[in-house]
Symmetry: C2
Subunit: 224 residues, 2 copies
Amino acid sequence: MNTSWIDKFKGLSRLPDDIRTALVAGSQIVTVPAGTQVFAPGQTADNLLLLLDGTVRVQQKSDTGREVFLYRVHAGESCVLTTACMLAFEDYSADGIAETDVTAVAIPRKTFDDLAAKSPIFREFIFTAYSRRITDLFTLIDDIVFQRMDVRLASRLLELANADNVVRATHAFLGTELGTAREVISRTLSEFQRRGWIEQSRGEVRLTGREGLERMVKSAGAEV
Amino acid sequence: MNTSWIDKFKGLSRLPDDIRTALVAGSQIVTVPAGTQVFAPGQTADNLLLLLDGTVRVQQKSDTGREVFLYRVHAGESCVLTTACMLAFEDYSADGIAETDVTAVAIPRKTFDDLAAKSPIFREFIFTAYSRRITDLFTLIDDIVFQRMDVRLASRLLELANADNVVRATHAFLGTELGTAREVISRTLSEFQRRGWIEQSRGEVRLTGREGLERMVKSAGAEV
DNA sequence: TGCTTTTGGTGACATGGTCACCAAACTGTC
DNA sequence: GACAGTTTGGTGACCATGTCACCAAAAGCA
């Protein structure tokens, strides 16, 4: 039995051998293609997912059809919201989408509960994951309420850029990512371009002057 | 040993007798006066609080000194953020203040961990509490991003009004409550007054036409 | 090629946040 | 009561952002 994936998760690496064995035996590795809805309100989720590879985007759907990005689950993190999903709250309306092809460890409810009973380290791992999400949401709220749009966009561009300093995203995508309107993104990007920080082409932003963006973010005392 | 407070918490009422005894024996009832800081970043919290009476206001402090209200913990709910506080995340900056005199059950870390190991029902109670907070934050974010200020204020006034339809709060307080500026509250309240929905006096808003406020809230498909 | 869809640009306008002030209402002190 | 200081609320000007109504260019497709 291969337990090697366990060490991808910081909080789990200290698990004793018997728990590691139980965890691996009681779970399975799954892959889901990009675009799959990993969880959704009303849909019973009977697995806790630990991401080995890829990213999951968690977003809030409003009544009016618009969407706000909440957070992104990366490899090495767990998608605790699926456990909240298990509990099925009435008015809750967030869903999770695989942004890329995703490989994950699926821990069924029974295994999850057994381990939570037996292992203090596993418990701490779960509580830490919950707390991390909560504090992430705190900083997101702080950001939305207090931070200027141009700073938030600059910060997000730096985050999303690949090794070639290119962000592959439409203005509309960046809009939902920051919970704003496409027009606002268009205007702000034009301004960035005027300052020589970026070049634009359809569906793509090329960062030609990271320093400018970084300066803007830093001088605003930026959160992520 | 008096275990009667346990039944104030919906998720705990199903606890078996031995766990009830352990919970009561391993915790104590505390009271804190209004205005006390219940938890804060950097401050080690070694107790999980279950509120028996009073309310705790959880708010985010921004770098610039402004504050946003995040949520309110009521009697019968647990203040799970103290557990997050135990974990002490770097960039986390929310604090909790007793808004009224508060009576609470303080569960020290050791008892908490013992019970989490022994009782599936206790575990579920804790996970439910976490999930509840997370979904609360989701609806808050949705509200901030999509809802108009006048609707949010109307909704909040209805919530905060006492039995006499009076809200005792300054404009500045309502401002932090909704994450906006005092001036915006002043303007919006003037408009409500013009429409005959409220009367104002210093530090006090009297709801003289709840129907109008309720209509506004309902027609916006309102969240809390 | 022409038609449709996706993406991006733009002006006009409404809402909300910020700033600078002022005025009125309370508080405490003499 | 008179006075000064503090708290609370009101207001106009201005800027940032969200909304709406269009249009145009680019890409996809029959």
